[in-house]
């Protein structure tokens, strides 16, 4: 199901953990929909000097988090903002079609961490804790997305009305 690179990053994930006093924190996803990713960055001279992650999710979500941190480490903030979901999926040697959504989560978490850093630097944000709580809450209310084309779909919908792909809501036997 998964490529060798995905399995390697899943089994031996790089940069797992939190950074105490991180300069920026990005939190995306929520456990309701199945995946949640936190990214912590330390910024020095406008570069990502250190990056760590914590992820609740499937094998693909963990591999995506690990690969993302590898891609972002040492990059300037501008360069890091340009890392796309596609870059992460390609670096992993591809993901199964129904797992592509997990790669969206990866780049989103990184970009969110960088924005958080920039907001704090410009004084827009003072109390980090409060913002994080609100962020998670706002995500809770979100709907779920088609795993194939990532468009928002009805939760019980048997197929995606955008791409037409049938959605399997759980493992059948």
């Amino acid at each position: 199901m998964y490529s060798e690179i995905v399995m390697d990053h899943f089994k031996n994930p790089r940069n797992v953990g939190e950074i105490p006093n991180a300069d920026g924190v990005g939190e995306v996803g929520n456990p309701v929909c199945g995946d949640m990713m936190n990214v912590y960055i330390k910024v020095e001279d406008n570069r990502i000097a250190d990056i760590k992650f914590k992820t609740f999710g499937c094998g693909a979500a963990i591999a995506v988090s690990s690969m993302l941190t590898e891609l972002a480490k040492g990059k300037t903030l501008d360069e890091a903002m340009k890392i796309t979901n596609k870059d992460v999926a390609e670096a992993l040697g591809g993901l199964p079609q129904n797992k592509l959504h997990c790669s969206n989560l990866g780049a989103d978490a990184l970009h969110s961490a960088i924005k958080n850093y920039l907001d704090r630097k410009s004084g827009k944000l003072k109390d980090l804790g409060k913002d994080r709580e609100e962020h998670v809450k706002s995500r809770e209310a979100e709907a779920c997305y088609c795993p194939y084309c990532s468009k928002q779909v009805e939760e019980e919908s048997p197929f995606c009305i955008f791409c037409g792909t049938e959605i399997h809501h759980e493992h059948d036997h």
Binding site: V16, H101, E170
Partner: protein, 390 residues
């Protein structure tokens, strides 16, 4: 050590006696049971022998057994067949929120055809209340379809009570017994249902073959139209190789059940109790006593089921996950959510289903390997707080 297979609900390996019978059949029989010549009649004999063997497993008359292409077709036939057969009487069907997809999606199709469905809630064990079933019956109710054993949490529903209510109100009663037949004793006379679905690959027979028990006098339309096979109830040339395998599997299941049951139940108890003792913050799903004897459904907080399943697979342990397919977009198991479990916990669910070949050493291995894997994944999870570390 080979693979430790703990996913028997997804399919059982062939019993050696089943394999032998199927190979013998392939080598000697090739006729079509509908042909009146000797070659055809040899096939017809094999078919009727298998029918008797399957009937004996559930204490039915052989004429009440219709062979199907598996549990899914059997369920589709029961539900859609009654819907068409009874359409003059009404268009209302009663079911529960925790049925298998074969039931849920058959009913989804019938909704498109203007049938109405009442889907009943279950309690935290996954049990449906027979009184709620009775209360849902209307003059237009034609069918009650409720599973005998749930395929995700193993809870056994009070089908005998529900069948009595159905009989009282002259409503046809179907039970999806796919995960129970061949595992626990199932007696059609005690249950009192009109229709019952079963599948061979739950009791060491081949995949792709199942049966529908149809009580004499039940009005049911064929799902597949065509020739007169299966007494005009299921057209199409029979999958005789599979059917012969199912027959022998049924016979062997009946023979071996008194020995299999207590042994597998003891291993299951060891696994369940071992997990509870070794891994903090887990939930054992389903009813504690009124449940299948070979299944453990466990929800592990703070982690997601697929990553745990993959890590166990790396250790040579094959289990099923009952989380959403973990793509970040799909909902958790409808069964667990129906029992009142929160979404996050439901995502971390694993389903172990044991079988006749499992050993105590294998269970010991799982209990040794799993706790550190759970801890590794928890350390990686943003939901797991350091304070929880024991």
């Amino acid at each position: 050590m080979g693979v430790i297979y703990l996913d028997h609900l997804s399919g059982t390996p062939l019993h050696p006696r089943v394999q032998e019978a199927m190979i013998n059949h392939i080598n000697t029989v090739y006729g079509n049971p509908v042909s009146d010549h000797q070659v055809g009649q040899q096939a017809a004999q094999a078919l009727e022998k298998a029918r008797s063997q399957v009937a004996a497993l559930i204490n039915a008359d052989p004429s009440e057994i219709v062979f199907e292409s598996g549990g899914t077709e059997s369920v589709n036939h029961a539900i859609k067949g009654v819907a068409i057969g009874m359409r003059e009487k009404g268009r209302h069907i009663i079911t529960t929120n925790i049925e298998h997809k074969a039931v849920l999606n058959s009913l989804r199709t019938l909704r498109l055809l203007d049938y109405t469905v009442t889907s009943l809630d279950v309690d935290s064990y996954g049990l449906v209340d027979p009184a709620a079933v009775e209360a849902a019956i209307t003059p237009g109710t034609i069918l009650i379809s409720i599973m005998l054993a749930n395929n995700e949490i193993g809870t056994l529903e009070p089908i005998a009570d529900i069948a009595k209510i159905a009989q009282k109100h002259k409503v046809v009663c179907h039970t999806d017994a796919v995960d129970a037949v061949g595992v626990i004793p199932v007696d059609i006379k005690t249950l009192g249902v009109d229709l019952l679905s079963l599948a061979a690959n739950q009791f060491y027979g081949p995949p792709g073959v199942g049966a529908l028990y149809v009580r004499k006098g039940t009005r049911i339309w064929p799902l597949l139209d065509g020739g007169m096979q299966e007494n005009k109830r299921r057209a199409g040339t029979e999958n005789l190789i599979g059917i012969v395998g199912m027959g022998v599997a049924a016979e062997v299941a009946k023979e071996e059940m008194p020995e299999r049951l207590p042994r597998i139940r003891a291993l299951r108890d060891k696994l369940r109790d071992g997990l509870v003792a070794r891994i903090p913050e887990i939930v054992i799903n389903g009813h504690p006593t009124q449940c299948l004897p070979h299944l453990v459904s466990v929800s592990i907080k703070y982690i997601e089921g697929e990553s745990l399943m993959l890590m166990l697979d790396e250790e040579g342990i094959a289990v099923a996950t009952r989380s959403a397919c973990a793509s970040g977009s799909l909902r958790a198991s409808h069964v667990l959510i129906s029992t009142g479990m929160d979404f996050a916990t439901a995502q971390g669910t694993l389903l172990f289903s044991l079988g006749r070949d499992n050993t105590e050493a294998e269970i010991d291995r799982v209990l040794e390997v799993m706790p550190p894997i759970v801890q590794t994944l928890r350390e990686m999870s943003p939901l797991y707080k350091k304070g929880h570390t024991a």
